[in-house]
């Protein structure tokens, strides 16, 4: 079966997941993003690559941060951006997902940026739309959040250069995390030899080793000599119940403190996809400390999203 993200020539048609993307395409996105980092620092922060194109932000699940960064990225490429918060609109009136897409396609959308609470939603839309439409998955259920995975990879490359020597630890709720899945695929595709996941069994999916990672339940052992630490957000509703007894106990075992950080390499960087729960998965002294690169992640995220949109829109050089 053909990879649903690629067209017949093997070019990127949609960005649905990192899994299955050829390494060259990932590298090209990261290289293109590097050229856009300069744009975002200029006085006039716009390039005309997507002039006349319409980007529809379709958010079936609430999000402020991700939607905003996509909006900024599209505007810096001179696209017209339409934001639709569908969680509160047509879906509640009984319209099906694909009806919504058909209606927007009839309004001559060029690109759909889709966030949806159910895994596979972006794949469904990508299968459905005509070939001149492009779909960017901005997060589907627990499955994938490829632009986040790419911006994480960009950040790691920016600070650490060579993936082939890196040890990376991803900590926390892997089970429900699309961010973790996308980053793990990015790292294994880019050649990181040592990717670790750290968390209690209740927050690790069955057979997670099959993704190419090593599993640690003890955080200090898992962090030993790593170059990169990625802390994941723990959703409120999962802090108390059958998965975890309390936020406090989670912090005690898996919260990143200065003491635990000391197990990593002295120049290790600390990342977090945001929004952070200070005192739950990360201590403020670490979040605000010199090793944290959490705000640069956000900045790079705009350049990475510009890169993805420009490549899909056919305007990238």
């Amino acid at each position: 079966m053909r990879n649903p993200q690629l067209n017949e020539k093997g070019e990127l048609q949609h960005l649905l997941a990192i899994e299955g993307l050829p390494r060259e395409i990932i590298v090209r996105i990261l290289d293109t993003a590097a050229s856009f980092v300069g744009v975002t620092e200029r006085e006039v922060k716009k390039v005309p690559l997507l002039r006349g194109k319409s980007v529809f932000n379709l958010f079936f699940e609430p999000s402020t941060r991700t939607r905003t960064t996509f909006e900024i990225a599209a505007k810096r490429l001179s696209a017209d951006v339409i934001n639709l918060n569908i969680a509160t609109s047509s879906q509640t009136k009984g319209e099906t997902l694909l009806d919504t897409i058909d209606n927007l396609a009839a309004m001559h959308a060029d690109m759909f940026v889709v966030r949806h609470g159910t895994s596979g939603a972006a794949h469904l839309i990508a299968r459905h739309v005509a070939p001149h439409h492009h779909v960017i998955n901005a997060g589907d259920g627990r499955h994938a959040h490829p632009t986040q995975g790419l911006l994480d990879a960009y950040t790691i490359r920016h600070y650490k250069r060579d993936f082939a020597r890196l040890a990376v630890a991803v900590v926390g709720d892997i089970l429900h995390s699309r961010v973790a899945r996308s980053l793990i695929h990015a790292l294994t595709t880019l050649g990181s030899p040592d990717v670790r996941v750290i968390g209690p069994q209740t927050l690790l999916p069955t057979g997670v080793e099959s993704l190419g990672v090593r599993v640690f339940h003890d955080m200090l052992r898992g962090l030993r000599d790593v170059d990169v630490i990625v802390m994941l957000r723990l959703q409120n509703e999962r802090m108390k119940g059958p998965l975890l007894p309390s936020a406090q106990e989670f912090f005690k075992c898996y919260g990143l403190t200065a003491e635990k950080l000391a197990a990593a390499k002295p120049d290790a960087i600390v990342m977090h996809p945001g929004p952070m729960n200070r005192g739950v998965e990360i201590d403020s002294t670490v979040a605000d400390g010199r090793q944290a690169v959490i705000l640069p992640q956000v900045t790079f995220g705009i350049a990475v999203r510009m890169a993805v949109m420009s490549i899909l829109g056919g305007g990238a050089t």
Binding site: L97, T118, S119, P205, T206, S210
Partner: protein, 426 residues
């Protein structure tokens, strides 16, 4: 009407017949095989040269969607699909809308189905009122209205005490209970097998022990109550092993597997193919192989279609939100033949799993071709391959993971009660 089916290969598993000979039908029944009965003059002769003449298939699970869910399918469409698939008797689960928990509903369904003169319909009654798993349905009344057994379909009985009492009550009446073993808490929100594929696709998962834990509880209750229980839609290797042991112990249990589960696995979900969203979920390759082996060694008594027509809109959804199930009546024979070929099973042994054995489980006089038996007959070409297409399916449900597959076995004629109810275009 007298019909002679000549030149065919007669395969009648229950009576250990597999030979070239003619079959004679008169007055709705089998009149004889081999030489014509004295004075037999055929009104119609069917030339079955190169074809197999077998008992009509008996399907232990086919949803007809009436009453209440006619937008998915109707009796007309599905009973015609049945005979187009060579299925002449079928059991329909009680998960209609409303569920089959009242005698009036059962009588109406039986009457409406009988008026079609297509496949015979055997309703399964609801074991609990409204299938809610809390109060017993009126089993004796439903039995008298025509229910052949009692089932929860896919609805759970979360309270084991209710299940225990339901089995005791069924044992009192001497009726059998059909249960699909699945722990409702472990299965909650799950849409896929808990394994590498669900992990990769980020799908909420159902662990295999959701089946074996429920199976353990059911078997303990069978041991305590002596109730005859038919276990539906086994999906795991561990479940097959438990049933094997239970049978060796002498417990009065039988079991079936769905035809899709014998051929497909979690790997077939690929990029979220909603046609592979089934109940129970498609499991690992190892589980699938165990189902194939269990079917071959008789641990699994019968293969069924678990026919579940779903309208296309309900499948055009993200995987987890899509309606589960697959259309199956017209694929039961091809999938049985495919299994037999892949495992090197003799044709008669394979057909037993979809004819005489399910008939025995249902307790009906069907699934064989001895003189005097009802003339429910399936005449098919075992060598022809048919490519599955939406347009080629008679069922209103076009939802099948096998679209585009070329499957062996083409039904040419179906007889129900001695009348030709389906005839393929030549």
């Amino acid at each position: 009407m007298k019909i002679q089916i000549k030149n065919g290969r007669l395969v009648d598993p229950r009576n250990h017949v597999d030979r070239a000979c003619d079959l004679f039908v008169a007055d709705g029944c089998i009149a004889g095989a081999g030489a014509a009965p004295a004075g037999f003059r055929a009104d119609r002769t069917i030339d079955a040269a190169g074809l197999v003449v077998a008992p009509g298939l008996v399907d232990l699970a086919a949803r007809l969607r009436e009453p209440g869910l006619e937008y998915k399918a109707t009796l007309d469409s599905e009973l015609y699909a049945a005979v187009a698939g060579g299925v002449t008797s079928l059991a329909c689960p009680p998960d209609t809308d409303p569920p089959l928990d009242e005698p009036g509903l059962v009588e109406m369904l039986k009457r409406r189905a009988a008026s079609r003169n297509l496949a015979h319909v055997y309703p399964l009654g609801a074991l609990t009122a409204k299938l809610e798993g809390a109060r017993l349905a009126e089993l004796a009344t439903l039995r008298d209205a025509g229910c052949v057994a009692f089932s929860q379909a896919d609805a759970p009985i979360p309270d084991t005490a209710v299940l225990w009492r339901a089995l005791q009550y069924a044992a009192t009446l001497g009726v059998s209970v059909w249960l699909r073993p699945q722990d409702p808490y472990l299965a909650r929100d799950g849409v896929a097998h808990d394994g590498e594929v669900a992990t990769r696709l980020g799908l909420p998962a159902i662990p295999p022990f959701a089946e074996t834990i429920a199976l353990g509880a059911i078997l303990a209750l069978v041991r305590a109550t002596g109730t005859r229980v038919h276990l539906c839609r086994l999906s795991t290797a561990a479940g097959v092993a438990m049933v094997h042991a239970a049978k060796a112990e002498g417990l009065p249990v039988t079991c079936d597997a769905g035809a899709h589960h014998v051929h497909l696995s979690e790997m077939d979900l690929a990029h979220y193919d909603a046609h592979c969203h089934l109940v129970p979920p498609l499991r690992s390759l190892r589980d699938r192989d165990a189902l194939q082996a269990g079917l071959a060694d008789g641990t699994i008594d019968a293969l069924c279609s678990d026919h579940t027509p779903v309208d296309e809109d309900a499948k055009q959804m993200p995987f987890g939100e899509s309606a589960p199930g697959a259309t199956g009546l017209e694929l039961l024979l091809p999938l049985t033949l495919k299994w037999a070929r892949e495992r090197g099973i003799a044709l008669a042994d394979a057909l037993a799993r979809v004819t005489c054995t399910p008939a025995r489980i249902l307790g009906i006089e069907a699934g064989h071709l001895a003189p005097g038996a009802p003339a429910d007959v399936c005449v098919f070409d075992p060598e022809a391959h048919v490519t599955v297409s939406a347009a080629g399916l008679q069922s209103q449900g076009k939802n099948t993971p096998f679209l585009g597959y070329a499957l062996p076995g083409r039904v040419r004629f179906t007889l129900v009660g001695g009348a030709v109810t389906y005839e393929a275009r030549a």
